[in-house]
Amino acid sequence: MSENDQEIQHPAPFPRYADTSLIRGKFADTIQEIIEAIGEITLVVRREGLIELMTFLRDEPSLRFDYLSDIGGLDLGEFASPRFAVAYQLYSLDLNHRLRVKVFLEEDDAHLPTLWNVWKTSNWLEREIFDMFGIVFDNHPDLRRILMPADYEGYPLRKDFPIKGY
């Protein structure tokens, strides 16, 4: 590998990514970190106050994240602390910008409030994360396994789950 490819030239970020200056001060307790990398913005937030933050992001006229694209789970490994991360990909249909909100969770306290009342999309997306990672979404209207059989044991996308299954 050549040594001069450390300076990676990324193409200009398109679409525009959201302007986060507005929420920085308003949710100082909830937001832990704002990361800008590879043309994308990630908010690392605490679980407490997540619903308030998301509702604000959805309703604030200058942000208007009316569309929840995706919720992705992430297992950082058996011995990592915090072990899990959940990444929400938000999108604004009107303003055409994106934002990623990330929450880290400890293994023995893998709970998150459901966003069912903010975006209905979260119904199945949260069920899938529960199914694959065992992260529980409190107050979810219908938290059952979705892809795996109802009587299945284990959480397939965790890193300590063997690839051939049990």
Binding site: I8, L74, L93, T121, E128
Partner: protein, 411 residues
């Protein structure tokens, strides 16, 4: 609950005057997983009151193959062979989304010719995917002939895929950094021949199905979802554009040079099965337009692979002269290449909607995590909202109109 009596004309035989045991009771019917109109292995638990759907509970996972888990064990470049197996009708689009995500992580610029090829082939794939939808959707509603017309035409598109990549369904033709190899000589002629026929073929389809009164009455006003609900449920693709939302990832966040193509995004406002049907039919015409333009740009020649030391094997002559080049070749072939640490979310417009890849790299030669935002999965989650209060027979029409692929839903 007290059973109701059947009201029969007084002239009828008095023997029939007995209480109907089924009145006022709800019946649960299982639709699928082997039902042909569920387009795969979808099972729906329908709670019915007479013929009206009270509640619908989708039961999925029959086709779950753990693709996201398998991706974590493959090398970066090998993952391309799995992505196309998720949404098997739109395989080129699946490969494209993954390649774009990894290229964004690596900061690789794909050559112009490869981008044009990618656009051409994904649009052809969109055509073939919409043809399967058209045929099966019409067949679900009783129009058998349309199915044969659509599949005959789709066969010609698959022939083109075979000509360019050697495979008909799981092409794996797009790889990180470009496309696998350049097109064969007879490729442009084949595509042009197909496109020249295609407009006429679409007119034929419109005459066959669009003007059909039975088809219109089965679809107009059925499975309505409002603009607000469509956004709230996260619908995407033709399904949301049938509800009046003008959103196409190709226009909103252009990739592979889509911003340089001249095309229109068809939008209809009624939010019913009929609107979604019209959106897809118009979309096919726009795809043909894009294909023509991409085909014109493919004249001449050029590189189809990014000039990046990690993505290309070194030249054979150099390899025989220099030991370091030899080592580089050996490492690339045996261990693969690494991708810088980071995470990206890249979405594209697949034939079904927003297909997103959330790729996380820890700097190793395999992806740490690839999360796929499958458009069918999210679209299907809104199905109960669409079919509640509809007739049982209309459920089939609604399933057809959101055009799910169960491989994409279950992954």
């Amino acid at each position: 609950m007290q059973p109701k009596e059947i009201v029969v004309p007084t002239s009828s035989i008095s023997m029939l005057r007995r209480p109907d045991p089924l009145a006022d009771t709800q019946m649960t019917v299982s639709l699928g997983p082997q039902h042909p109109s569920t387009h795969g292995v979808l099972r729906l638990e329908l709670v019915l009151d007479g013929e009206t759907v009270v509640n619908a509970i989708p039961d999925i996972g029959y086709l779950h193959t753990g693709i996201e888990k398998t991706m974590e064990k493959e090398k970066w470049q090998q993952v391309v062979t799995i992505t196309c197996r998720m949404d098997y009708l739109n395989s080129m689009g699946n490969d494209l989304g993954y390649c774009l995500a990894v290229e964004k992580l690596m900061g690789v610029e794909v050559p112009k010719r490869a981008q044009d090829l990618r656009v051409l082939l994904t649009e052809l794939n969109r055509l073939s995917s919409h043809l399967v939808w058209f045929g099966t959707h019409a067949m679900d509603l009783g129009a058998m002939t349309a199915f044969f017309y659509a599949f005959t035409e789709r066969e010609r598109i698959l022939d083109i895929f075979e000509c360019v990549s050697g495979a008909r369904l799981h092409q794996s033709y797009f790889i990180i950094g470009g496309v696998r190899w350049d097109i064969p000589e007879n490729f442009p002629a084949l595509v042009r021949d197909l496109l020249d026929r295609f407009r006429n073929f679409l007119d034929e389809c419109r005459r066959l199905v669009t003007g059909n009164r039975i088809f219109q009455r089965r679809t107009k006003g059925v499975g309505v979802i409002s603009k607000k609900d469509a956004i709230d449920w996260g619908l995407s693709g033709p399904t949301i554009r049938g509800s009046g939302v003008n959103w196409d990832v190709r226009k909103a966040e252009p990739y592979s040079g889509y911003d340089t193509y001249d095309f229109r995004v068809p939008v209809y406002h009624d939010g019913d099965v009929w609107s979604r049907y019209l959106v897809r039919m118009d979309e096919m015409e726009e795809s043909v337009k894009i294909c023509y333009e991409a085909l014109d740009r493919l004249k001449g020649s050029g590189s189809v692979m990014a000039d990046h030391p990690k993505l290309n094997l070194p030249e054979r002559d150099l390899m025989k002269q220099h030991i370091d080049v030899m080592i580089h070749h050996f490492l690339l072939a045996s261990e693969g290449f690494t991708v810088p640490i980071g995470e990206v979310y890249q979405s594209i417009e697949s034939a079904r909607g927003e297909l997103g890849y959330y790729v996380v790299s820890d700097g190793a030669e395999r992806p740490y995590r690839v999360r796929v935002r499958a458009p069918s999965y999210v679209n299907l989650s809104a199905l109960p909202a669409m079919v509640e209060g509809q007739l049982l027979a209309d459920v089939v029409a609604v399933i057809g109109s959101i055009d799910i692929v169960l491989g994409d839903v279950d992954r």
